[in-house]
């Protein structure tokens, strides 16, 4: 069982040069796994998730003094990670020219089937395929609520969107995912 440290203690260590690195290691120890899972659910592939998570933590390492403490450290980290993931997906979408013939959900199904770091059953594979069919930001909303059970107020800070818009987006996303499964049953 890993020892847990408070945000205040981590920030105190990060505030001086002598203890900065130790503070950063504790920050990573505390938050790297939930952040990785969040990013991985956004981009699906481990190598892509690794790139995004490394960029995220490098930004945190360099800009930690910009964290003003107005939100939770966890919320601030999620915000950076989500932005990095969406930037990565936008960049990948621009590079790919075959998205019309080979939409995300079909491509993700093939990718996850071949992925040695995906250990889900058929239902989980289909669920990821359904999530892949959502637009990037709506996917982030769905994942943060469905998997991480994040309160709407915190999501509002992470995604810079109003609580009302987030509720509507989550409801819409949940209906689309359900419809995707019903479509499979009908086939």
């Amino acid at each position: 069982m890993k020892e847990q440290f408070s945000d205040e203690y981590i920030m105190e260590l990060l505030s001086t040069d002598a203890t900065h690195e130790r503070g950063f290691r504790l920050l990573m120890q505390t938050y790297q796994e939930p952040l990785y899972r969040h990013v991985r659910r956004m981009v699906f592939d481990h190598d892509d998730a690794n790139d995004v998570i490394q960029n995220t933590f490098i930004k945190v390492f360099r800009n930690i003094e910009r964290f003003e403490g107005k939100s939770k450290l966890f919320t601030w980290l999620y915000r950076i990670a989500t932005n990095e993931a969406i930037t990565f997906l936008n960049s990948r979408n621009r590079k790919e020219t075959d998205t019309i013939d080979n939409p995300d959900n079909a491509r993700i199904a093939n990718q996850l089937t071949a992925d040695t770091f995906f250990d889900g059953d058929y239902i989980q594979l289909k669920l990821q395929q359904a999530i892949a069919s959502l637009p990037d930001k709506q996917r982030a909303v769905f994942n943060l609520r469905y998997y991480d059970e994040m309160p709407y107020e915190e999501m509002s800070v992470v995604l810079e969107t109003s609580v009302g818009a987030l509720k509507a987006s989550y409801h819409h996303a949940a209906k689309k995912v359900e419809a995707f499964f019903k479509g499979i049953e009908q086939d």
């Binding site: 360099r62 770091f117 995906f118 989550y170 995912v177 359900e178």
Partner: protein, 202 residues
């Protein structure tokens, strides 16, 4: 909070609520020891990338003229630039040589042949039927015309000479404040130019 979330999902989609209860395990895996090494990798990378953007202390200072010349010379003498400069110089040199060759060919093409007076007389005698009487008469007048032009040229050149003592006289005036050596130097330097311009005008 947990209850609130579960109720929301149950109301929204009983199907997804059931699915979530059944699917407890995380399907996404990572390579072994991935999280154990991630912090080291990121710290190394962050420090490395920070180092690459560091600049020397003099970076933002305005460089001195000597430093700038030195920088330009060092750029110029880099192998690729030196080769480019050499190639450029060769092309330029070849172009200049070709133009000079063309000029000399053109000039030599119109240059009159050097024919002695005796040779010319012999030629006329032998081919007298090819010449008109008018041309032969003009040929006798031509030397006189040339003689006149030469005399005129001599007079114009000689007319320049009296101006030198006049200039010397002006310069030697007590109010000019010039020494003998300065005047001599001035005349030596400027009369040459004056003569050349005057002759060109003629």
């Amino acid at each position: 909070m947990k209850r609130e979330f579960e109720k929301e999902l149950q109301d929204l989609s009983p199907f997804l609520a059931d699915l979530k209860k059944q699917q407890k395990d995380e399907p996404y895996k990572t390579p072994r020891l991935y999280f154990d090494n991630l912090a080291d990798q990121i710290i190394e990378k962050a420090k490395g990338e920070t180092n690459t953007v560091k600049v020397p202390p003099q970076y933002y200072r305005t460089p001195s003229l000597a430093h700038r010349i030195n920088t330009w010379l060092s750029i110029l003498f880099k192998p690729k630039w030196a080769l480019s400069a050499l190639a450029f110089a060769l092309v330029l040199g070849a172009g200049w040589y070709a133009v000079q060759q063309q000029k000399s060919t053109a000039i030599s093409g119109v240059q009159p042949m050097v024919v002695t007076h005796e040779e010319a007389q012999n030629y006329v005698k032998e081919n007298i039927e090819d010449f008109k009487e008018e041309d032969i008469a003009n040929a006798f007048e031509e030397p006189k015309k040339i003689e006149k032009e030469e005399k005129l040229l001599d007079t114009q050149t000689t007319n320049l000479l009296p101006s030198v003592p006049k200039l010397e006289k002006v310069l030697k005036h007590p109010q000019s404040g010039l020494t003998e050596a300065e005047i001599e130097q001035y005349l030596l330097e400027n009369l040459d130019e004056r003569d050349i311009y005057a002759l060109n005008d003629i």
